[in-house]
Amino acid sequence: MSGCHDCADCPAAKFPPPPAKAAHVIAIVGPPNSGKSTLFNRLTGLHQKVANFPGVTVEHHVGRLRADTDREVLLVDLPGVYSLLPHSEDERVTHDVLTGLRPGMEPEAVLLILDCTNLGRHLLLAAPILNLKLPTLVILNMADDLRNRGGQVDVAKLSAELGAPVALISASSGEGVDKVYQFIQGTAAGRAKVKAPLIQLPVLQDIPKCRRWASEVGAGAAYRAPEPPRWTRRLDAVFLHPWAGPLIFLAVVILVFQSIFAWATPVMDGMKTLVEASGAWVAPHIPTPLLRSLVVDGVWSGVGSVLVFLPQILLLFFFIGILEDSGYLARAALIADRTMRKFGLQGKSFIPLLSAYACAVPAVMSARTIENKRDRIATIMIAPLMTCSARLPVYTLIIAAFLPNRPLLGPILGTQAAALLGLYVLGFLAAVLTARLLKSSILKSGGTPFVLEMPPYRWPTLRSISLRLVDRARVFLRKAGTVILVVALLLWVAAHLPLQNGKPPEIGQSFAGQIGHAMEPVIKPLGFDWKIGIGLLTSLAARETIVATLGTIYGMEGEAASHGLQQALHADLTPGGALALLIFFAFAMQCMSTLAIVRRETGGWRWPAAQFAYMGLLAYAGAFLANQLAGGAVTRLIAFLQ
């Protein structure tokens, strides 16, 4: 892959081809919802990795086949497509790979996977694939579904009609998958032959003709379509019931929210303790104090700040896995669509935005369920404006330091809780307005309509969900981990150098302190001094870092010092400045993990850079206005409450 900027992502980097025989590349193609990924996972297990094609944001998986073949066999899982007419990025990539326009990835054979419970429509894709004249195995998936619902197909006749071998399988149970291995062993040894189909292939641009061809082929293979899925109809009668449907939807939403927000917290705290304890355990074994500080405060805490998100991400993806594999996610998107449309978004944006209340990182990753690229990017762009859990420690510190707690609505709502709620609303409004702005300008969907296929309900399998969890965890740790580590090291260097008499300087004299002083003129109008400036700088890595940084600057550390820190802040910040700081944190993009993940998911630095600039501007303007205009009012309000 020449011109590749992302070497770690390059499949060739991970699987160097053996010198004697080049790897045998096989592409897996199929329409969405055909069980393509399930088969891919079954064939490759954990020997797979996610990659982006250079220059496009379409993601694909490359995996090594678990089988005894002379040559190494690489499977490429291409995006789900209905045809090879390139009118979306997914289709263009699939088209380019199959026609050999992507160097280093020319497939020698194709696995075409179709849902045999809906063969008439899925055979549409067979016409352009067979037209490539590559050795192709036509895989009819969901054999068990077809049987259970009284459908039928003659595999031998279909094979003769298409001029290609046909395998009737069930990717989820493993039935018939041995046929797939046989085919691959054959093509790897170069034994496959390509025959012409009995019924001549139709003109590919003419979909009605293609569909007629598919019907003819189906009829020739004695295909009998299965009965409609009775259980799906029954479940939809409940899940899409006019009032029970929304109630169940609400229950599911609360469950997901509760799990990522409340249940993940003890695990995350445990993770944090573990990282700190192991850091403390390593520390005495490092001789020089400076090196010790570098390892423990730099590397260790950097790694820790990444690891801490992992339980939340895994929990969220566990739920999303169940929702997606069972088929409920499509129903949830249907129910949420009307509300989301008011913000210029669509039903599928709902779950990612909900997750963003816990953490923008899993939210951005889960936006992948949105096929429409513009809607997906809009969702990714606004997710970090939702109030994530990392803002909470900052909000609580500042609110507690400045706002006296008085009952507002009896015992239910105090002034402090109301202020916190107000910040949640502020973030939500900013997100909604940004979405409207984006969707009415640069991310306008044009004429692309909202189309949502409703798959039949299926039991999710633990196997497929756990494979996905491992996959997500890997992506997160590798991508976010590397960026965070670099930033953590840079911040450590800034805070601990230049050395004075061989010792790290006071923070005010360090590079970070000098930068803090240098930026004071810029942040003065917001009501911030150089100490807050350093806090803003270190909070670039992760928002909650500012609490620890301010603790260090004021020479107070630990939980016990929280009260002292509040008093110290009180002396340095005016009430207007405090409000400005809250608003700054509500809007600013101070999270390296999120930026790293946005870069990954959008395939470049363009979107994360725009996001960083936009949110920074919003934060600065908001804080400026708050400090200049509302300072007096806040002071009077606080005096009134006291």
Binding site: S83, N118, P208, G347
Partner: protein, 95 residues
Amino acid sequence: MQVSFNKTDSEDTDSLLHLAALEPGQEAVLDHLRLPEDISRRLMELGFLPGHTIGVGKAAPGGDPRVYRVDGSEVALRHETASRLLVRRPKKEKL
């Protein structure tokens, strides 16, 4: 499956109505799609082919978007899209 691709006779065009106007549970035959070509093509790939029967299924609260049964699968469309698909009632159906 019997598929017809002939355009409806001109005297028939009066009986055309748009898909969104159908009641839940009703069926109709798709006549043509009044949408730009690339969007029509996408919908055709999903089964919205002229001559095919479309059934109306469940809907989201408020009736929009709505699920349509077409060519062996179920696809949800918003009202704005469904109102661009013109259908005629099957001849056998009695009103």
